[in-house]
């Protein structure tokens, strides 16, 4: 909230309230409120109304202050590392502006890909923390005490660079970001893939694509190494638009598929991963080549939330390595067609 720090007067705090509601129109209670305060404090209703209107327009203009290029999208959810709400988040972290609004509604669309509309409910009643739960293990996705010890340093590493390409590569290959969920209400979602999806959507929106023009593109991963430098030099990874890079496959959200196998996301941002995945014209792996591929495929068709599904691919790949089956594995019999 870049605008909040500059506020000093009562009238400007009114503008903050208006900015929170994010609607530029004078509603009934605001009129009632302006009457009440004008009587008690300044005795000038006209002046107050004018100031409220000015402050409101100011708040709207300030919405995207500080978001330059693509950097802001990789810094917009730092508050979620601590499980804080956006409205109570700090505006600055490690010397850079964080938690700003993402332009063009990319953040809203990315969140709708993974979470239901409306008021959230606590879906897992014994787990209300920022730690992501893994669908593969059922436990915390990353349970490494070293992560907790160096949390601040890790988060700084994820957000402080001023080069958006570097930020994208770091988020794409990060272990730390995968340990946190998108919201404490839905702990199986992944903050890492939410941010990457928001970045991919924003980059496409800035080029003029609308959501229904975008494709989910699935490719082989190329030469994989969990390292941002390797990601930046990889032929497969497309800056900002690659949302998943694992040793098994890579997924991209792009308006320009360039002949790679892809399928459209659909007209609206909804939790539809299984549906979109099942309609790909070709898979990046051979499901006939190993039963673990088929298990992964079958599970992905059952998952609706996008960030949950992307995190599932990553967890499954790490746990069962379908791309690298054990040498003594023999084809199962009795599995049928």
């Amino acid at each position: 909230m870049a605008s909040r720090r500059r506020l000093t007067t009562l009238w400007e705090s009114v503008s903050v309230l208006v900015g929170w509601s994010r609607r530029v129109r004078v509603t009934g209670w605001m009129y009632w409120w302006s009457r009440r305060w004008s009587c008690e404090l300044c005795r000038s209703r006209k002046r107050l109304t004018r100031m409220v209107v000015i402050a409101m327009s100011d708040a709207v203009e300030d919405v995207e202050v500080g978001v330059e290029g693509m950097v802001g999208v990789y810094r917009h959810d730092v508050h979620k590392f601590r499980g804080r709400q956006h409205d109570s988040a700090r505006g600055e972290f490690a010397g850079v502006a964080v938690n700003e609004r993402v332009p063009l509604g990319a953040d809203a669309d990315a969140s709708m890909l993974s979470r239901p509309r409306g008021n959230p409910e606590q879906s897992v009643d014994n787990h209300a923390t920022p730690d992501r739960l893994s669908l593969v293990s059922g436990e915390r996705a990353v349970d490494d005490p070293r992560l907790v010890a160096n949390r601040r340093g890790d988060i700084e590493w994820l957000v402080t660079s001023s080069d958006p390409g570097v930020l994208h590569a770091r988020w794409l290959t990060s272990e730390v970001a995968g340990a946190y969920n998108e919201t404490v209400y839905y702990p199986y979602t992944s903050l890492q893939y939410h941010v990457l999806l928001a970045g991919a959507l924003l980059d496409n929106y800035r080029e003029g694509y609308d959501l229904e023009d975008l494709y989910l593109v699935a490719t082989e991963p190329g030469e994989f190494r969990r390292d941002p430098v390797a990601a930046q030099s990889s032929d497969v990874v497309e800056v900002f638009r690659t949302v998943l890079w694992t040793p098994a496959l890579a997924l991209h959200v792009t308006g320009a598929p360039d002949g790679r196998p892809g399928v459209r996301l659909g007209e609206r941002a909804v939790r539809s991963f299984g549906d979109v995945w099942a309609r790909l014209p070709a898979y990046p792996f051979d499901v006939g080549g190993g039963r673990r591929w088929r298990v992964l495929d079958a599970q992905l068709r059952r998952i609706r939330a996008w960030s949950t599904a992307l995190a599932y691919i990553r967890d499954f790949t790490a746990a069962y390595e379908p791309h690298d089956p054990p040498a003594d594995a023999r084809p199962s019999r009795g599995e049928g067609p």
Partner: protein, 380 residues
């Protein structure tokens, strides 16, 4: 077994014409012309069966194939059943709280679904459990965790657990709750009049499917079964959709459609002419076409036969005439190996997509305008 019942909704109808529809009338253009209108003259009754998964399952991950279920049932039944019975693929369903999906004849909160068969009054009711995404699961619970299988590794072999446990907060009475898995399939006969249906629960109960059956894996227990007469269902939504000018109906491949099978005597198929494949939705299609293909195996008497299929879960447009006839035939399945569950189709009216929340394209605000109106979405 505390929850066993059979609801006989309709007896088997008398039939005049014998139709070997399920095996003979395939995706070739029929001599009579309208393939999709082809005669479902005799076969109208299906028996829905819901099994509870009683042991870890180490079989086909997408579904329990109709072939596996058929073989498990056939070895306990007489020759008439083996000859006439056709078995659908069995779709995995978790037992959880849910609400009836859009298009269902009932609406609103449904209590716990998955553990019993809801009454079937309309065509859409047949498919409540047939879609692996299980759209009826409630959002207030961890629906993706409920709907994905808990994996057990047995010496590196990944089996599906029969139930999944979720922890409860310490202040509650129980420390954990379980979500158990069920398998939904349906049986019907393919030829003329028969008294094969309903297949008795004593035959169905305790069948084993998948791998490692000798070690106790893949055991299924019957919990619910009911007969449904396809002729008595309400097809009004389909008819209204076909009559409207909103676009064409859509066909969803609920189970794979066989193109080529090495099993002796099987016909080779092409993509049916009454499917309208939408090229605009995808990019980078392979040489085989826009529809994704897959090779699978059919194991018969110890030998495996390669089967090339169009993978399930894909959606094509419907370019034929008789929507209701096609809908019935889709339930009874089309193409090669339809006796074993392949070729199941669902017809959806225009605008009734697989993800109902999507809605029509026109409702969405252009992103250039959203610059002013962008509502956050980051509020959590």
């Amino acid at each position: 077994m505390t929850h066993q019942r059979t609801r006989a909704r309709r007896g088997v109808r008398a039939r005049e014409h014998e139709s070997s529809w399920a095996t003979a009338c395939t995706a070739r253009r029929c001599e009579q012309g309208e393939h999709e209108q082809g005669g479902v003259v005799g076969v109208v009754v299906i028996q829905q069966v819901l099994f509870e998964v009683a042991a870890p399952y180490y079989g086909h991950p997408y579904f329990v194939t109709g072939h596996a279920l058929f073989n498990a049932i056939a070895r306990r039944a007489d020759a008439a059943v083996r000859r006439e019975l056709a078995v659908s693929h069995g779709v995995f369903v978790p037992k959880e709280f849910g609400e009836y999906p859009r298009g269902h004849s009932q609406s609103g909160y449904a209590g716990k679904l998955g553990g019993e068969l809801p009454a079937v009054e309309a065509y859409e009711d047949l498919f409540v459990y047939r879609d692996p995404r299980q759209g009826w699961l409630q959002d207030g619970r961890p629906r993706d965790a409920h709907n994905t299988h808990d994996l057990q590794s047995h010496g590196g072999r990944l089996a599906f657990a029969p139930e999944c446990f979720f922890g409860r907060p310490p202040e509650t009475r129980n420390r954990k709750r379980s979500v158990s898995w069920y398998v939904h399939c349906y049986l019907h006969t393919g030829r003329g009049e028969s008294d094969v249906l309903p297949v008795g629960e004593s035959v169905l109960d305790g069948v084993r499917v998948g791998g490692a059956r000798n070690y106790g894996f893949g055991e299924l227990e019957v919990v619910d079964t009911q007969l449904v007469d396809l002729e008595e269902l309400d097809y009004s939504r389909l008819e209204a959709g076909a009559a409207s000018d909103e676009g064409r109906c859509q066909l969803e491949l609920v189970s794979p459609y066989v193109l080529r099978s090495e099993f002796s005597g099987a016909d080779e198929q092409s993509v049916p002419w009454w499917w309208k494949v939408d090229n605009d939705r995808v990019s980078g299609a392979s040489a085989g076409g826009v529809l994704r293909r897959r090779e699978t195996q059919l194991a018969v008497d110890g030998a495996t036969h390669a089967v090339e299929v169009l993978d399930h879960g894909q959606i094509v447009g419907f370019d034929g005439g008789d929507v209701v006839g096609t809908a019935k035939n889709g339930v009874l399945r089309v193409g090669t190996h339809s006796k074993y569950g392949f070729g199941e189709l669902r017809v959806r009216p225009p605008g009734g997509g697989r993800v109902p929340e999507r809605g029509p394209a026109g409702e969405r605000v252009n992103w250039r305008e959203r610059r002013v109106d962008a509502s956050g979405g980051e509020g959590l």
